[in-house]
């Protein structure tokens, strides 16, 4: 009874007890958002071999990766070194007067810096040590102080880890800088497509298939330990190729055949926990979605037509309860949603001529997809009931014609979407914020990249 009374009292207490009856309240509304000015001098080399060019290079690489990460976070604008009032090579990493040779906060306040990063590194043999302090200048407080150690070859991971730590320290949320992207790559003129892994920024490419065939549509497991993909493998007995589904375990490099039924075995999407997945099979004629056990042996149909319609590209919601997919059951490919057991199918997109490649945001509130209405594809987002449709891309090719922007996939923190675009001629990978701003190219080569998928958090 006491508990009940206490509950009633708690529930009846206003959320903001400081608001008194009769108070005149003014709701100021949403604030304008702006980037913070950051002063980030390059890390000081404190090694003993001052003239070692390789060591200097490591520091420059480390700095370049961090600056790129922090730029893409969209939190900061960097102050040019010419504006600095202190010689950062001559003052210490800690503030005066605690450190007699330390920097002065006033020097940074004067130029409007909100954050100051002071860092140093040393290389001993093959070991890299990176010490860094991040100060919030207006409050003269340390936001982050860390010392990272590792092999010199791991400088990229060290840089990404620091960027993640800073995002976490400021926002309380995880950063996406240690995540990776997988995509299929093809060299123009060569029909062979292979699957690659790369860091989120397009660096550190790693080839994970050597089928010398067409390998495509890679997908991450929800735990990020393996990748499912489809390859046109040669079946010796039948003397023919078939689009079979493979799993690849990243840590061990182990690969195994999961589904090789006649026809399509493609478009895998994992349920949370990776105990089950959905794939597209065409063993019965038309392409339909099936739920499979982890070994791929047992499959249960989720869609069937109607009228031999195609049902493909399953995307499972983060909670595993719903499945978005594309289907041409209404005449043209459109995005549909159904329950995980195949029930309650409803159409989400009514606009456009061709909508495909649905992708869930990590919070499960938004779907991105590629849509076409005027002869080219663009990336769109919408709520999961089909409302609030927004176009994120509208780039053109050098000849002035609209470019195709396709195959969206969300970063694990939901702050970016990777997609392919042929705006430069070849299919390259780009990222964009979910509001359509901050578009950036992340691959710069002559290959064609297709069907990128962003990993879950990998740290």
């Amino acid at each position: 009874m006491r508990l009940f009374v206490l509950l009633i009292v708690l529930l009846s207490t206003p959320l903001f007890a400081q608001e008194k009856p009769g108070d005149i309240i003014i709701d100021v509304g949403q604030a304008a958002v702006k980037k913070s000015l950051m002063a980030f001098p390059p890390p000081q080399y404190i090694g003993t071999q001052k003239t070692n060019a390789a060591h200097i290079q490591v520091g420059q690489n480390l700095y370049r990766v961090i600056v790129n990460d922090l730029t893409v976070s969209n939190f900061f604008t960097f102050i040019k070194p010419e504006a600095f009032l202190e010689d950062t090579n001559k003052v210490g990493m800690r503030p005066a007067p605690g450190d007699p040779n330390g920097f002065k906060f006033d020097s940074w306040k004067t130029i409007g810096a909100e954050f100051l990063v002071r860092s140093s590194y040393s290389v001993v043999g093959n070991d890299l040590s990176f010490e860094v302090y991040v100060y919030h200048v207006p409050t003269t407080r340390v936001v982050l102080s860390k010392n990272y150690k590792g092999a010199t070859s791991s400088y990229r991971r060290m840089a990404h880890t620091f960027a993640n730590d800073l995002v976490k320290a400021l926002t309380g949320k995880r950063g996406m800088f240690i995540s990776k992207i997988t995509a299929s790559r093809q060299t123009p003129g060569d029909p062979v497509k292979e699957i690659y892994l790369m860091d989120w920024d397009g660096a550190a490419e790693q080839k994970i298939t050597t089928h010398q065939s067409i390998a495509l549509s890679p997908t991450w497991s929800t735990t990020g330990d393996k990748i499912a993909y489809t390859a046109f493998a040669f079946h010796k007995a039948q003397k023919m190729r078939n689009s079979d589904l493979f799993f690849f375990e990243i840590a061990t490099g182990k690969r195994w055949l999961v589904s090789y039924r006649k026809g399509l075995n493609s478009g895998a999407a994992f349920f949370p926990g990776d105990k089950n997945f959905i794939l597209t099979l065409s063993k019965d004629g038309s392409a339909d979605l099936f739920r499979a056990t982890a070994d791929g042996q047992t499959v249960t149909p989720l869609t069937k037509g109607p009228n031999r319609a195609m049902n493909v590209e399953a995307a499972i919601s983060p909670d595993g309860k719903q499945v978005a997919f594309s289907s041409d059951r209404s005449g043209r490919p459109m995005i549909y949603l159904m329950n995980a057991d195949g029930s309650n199918v409803r159409r989400l997109t009514l606009a456009g001529k061709y909508n495909a490649s649905p992708a869930w945001s990590p919070d499960g509130k938004t779907l991105a997809f590629a849509g076409q209405d005027k002869g080219h594809f663009d990336i769109f987002t919408m709520n999961t009931d089909g409302s609030n449709l927004k176009r994120l891309t509208d780039a053109t090719k050098p000849n002035g014609k609209p470019a195709n922007n396709e195959s969206p996939s969300w970063s694990p923190d939901g702050r970016n979407i990777v997609f392919t675009s042929d705006r430069t001629g070849n299919l390259q990978l780009y990222i964009v914020s979910p509001d359509g701003t901050n578009e950036r190219r992340i691959t710069e080569d002559k290959h064609n990249w297709d069907k990128p998928k962003w990993s879950p958090f990998l740290d």
């Binding site: 903001f16 400081q18 608001e19 108070d23 005149i24 309240i25 003014i26 709701d27 100021v28 509304g29 949403q30 604030a31 304008a32 958002v33 702006k34 980037k35 913070s36 976070s73 969209n74 939190f75 909100e114 919030h136 207006p138 409050t139 995002v167 400021l170 926002t171 309380g172 949320k173 109607p306 009228n307 209404s330 005449g331 043209r332 009514l350 606009a351 456009g352 001529k353 849509g371 209405d373 005027k374 663009d378 769109f380 449709l389 927004k390 176009r391 994120l392 891309t393 509208d394 509001d435 359509g436 701003t437």
Partner: protein, 245 residues
């Protein structure tokens, strides 16, 4: 001529007979292909939206001035005898750009304001009498002190201007934007509109967010001078500002 004509007729009849016989035989002997009827297919071809030219980062601008026609509070209908005594109010604030209906509404409001004044005078007299007679009224509902009529218009206009002024100076860093923070600040304003004191009554839990809200308030001083009736309250009790809302 006749023979050749009748021969042609016979040939024609024979030919038609053969064609009809063939059609008949085909219908009887050869199987009919099934005619499949499918459901109608709905095809929607609707244009997808264009990319927004600019994505809003600024706070929504408040309505600068509430329109006269939107004023809803209507005081109780005055008694006929009082109505007869309503003095005509000279229309000093008449603007040329007001539409006819707005003008009428303004006149009505002014008339009601005058009525209120009379009512208040009557009430004061009544209260004075009551004070002298020392009668305790007891369980009666207060008539309240909410502004009405022209006073309400001034009041709303003032709050709207204050909100717009503070919103202009309200900005937060991007890294705080998605934090879901909320701060409440009580602000004391003197009769000239200068902010004389501010107190964080509902801290957000984030020092920087609170500081940004305080900065926005400080940068907004001086605010527009409060209306006459609000002056004492703005200076002694203050106004509550909610960031963001």
């Amino acid at each position: 001529m006749t023979d050749s004509f009748s021969r042609a007729i016979w040939i024609s009849v024979l030919g038609h007979g053969i064609v009809v016989t063939l059609i008949f035989l085909r219908a009887v002997v050869m199987p009919v292909e099934p005619f499949e009827i499918k459901n109608a297919i709905r095809v929607d071809i609707v244009g997808l939206p264009e990319k927004a030219a600019e994505f809003p980062t600024e706070p929504a601008k408040p309505v600068a001035k509430p329109e006269v026609k939107e004023v809803k509070p209507v005081p109780p209908t005055p008694k006929p005898e009082v109505k007869a005594d309503v003095p005509t109010v000279p229309d000093k604030t008449k603007k040329k750009d007001l539409s006819k209906s707005q003008q009428k509404a303004m006149e009505k409001l002014k008339a009601m304001s005058a009525l209120e004044k009379i009512k208040q005078d009557l009430k004061r007299e009544k209260d004075a009498k009551a004070e002298t007679s020392k009668v305790v009224k007891g369980n009666q509902v207060s008539e309240g002190d909410s502004p009405t009529g022209m006073e309400r218009l001034d009041f709303d206009r003032y709050l709207s201007e204050v909100r717009a002024t503070v919103a202009q100076h309200n900005s937060v860093p991007q890294w705080l934007a998605d934090g879901g923070y909320r701060t409440i600040i009580r602000v004391f304003i003197d009769e000239r509109g200068f902010i004389v004191k501010k107190v964080i009554e509902g801290p957000s839990g984030n020092e920087v967010f609170d500081a940004k809200a305080i900065e926005a308030v400080e940068a907004s001083s001086p605010l527009p001078p409060p209306p006459q009736r609000l002056r004492a309250r703005a200076a002694s009790i203050g106004l509550l500002f909610r960031f963001p809302q």
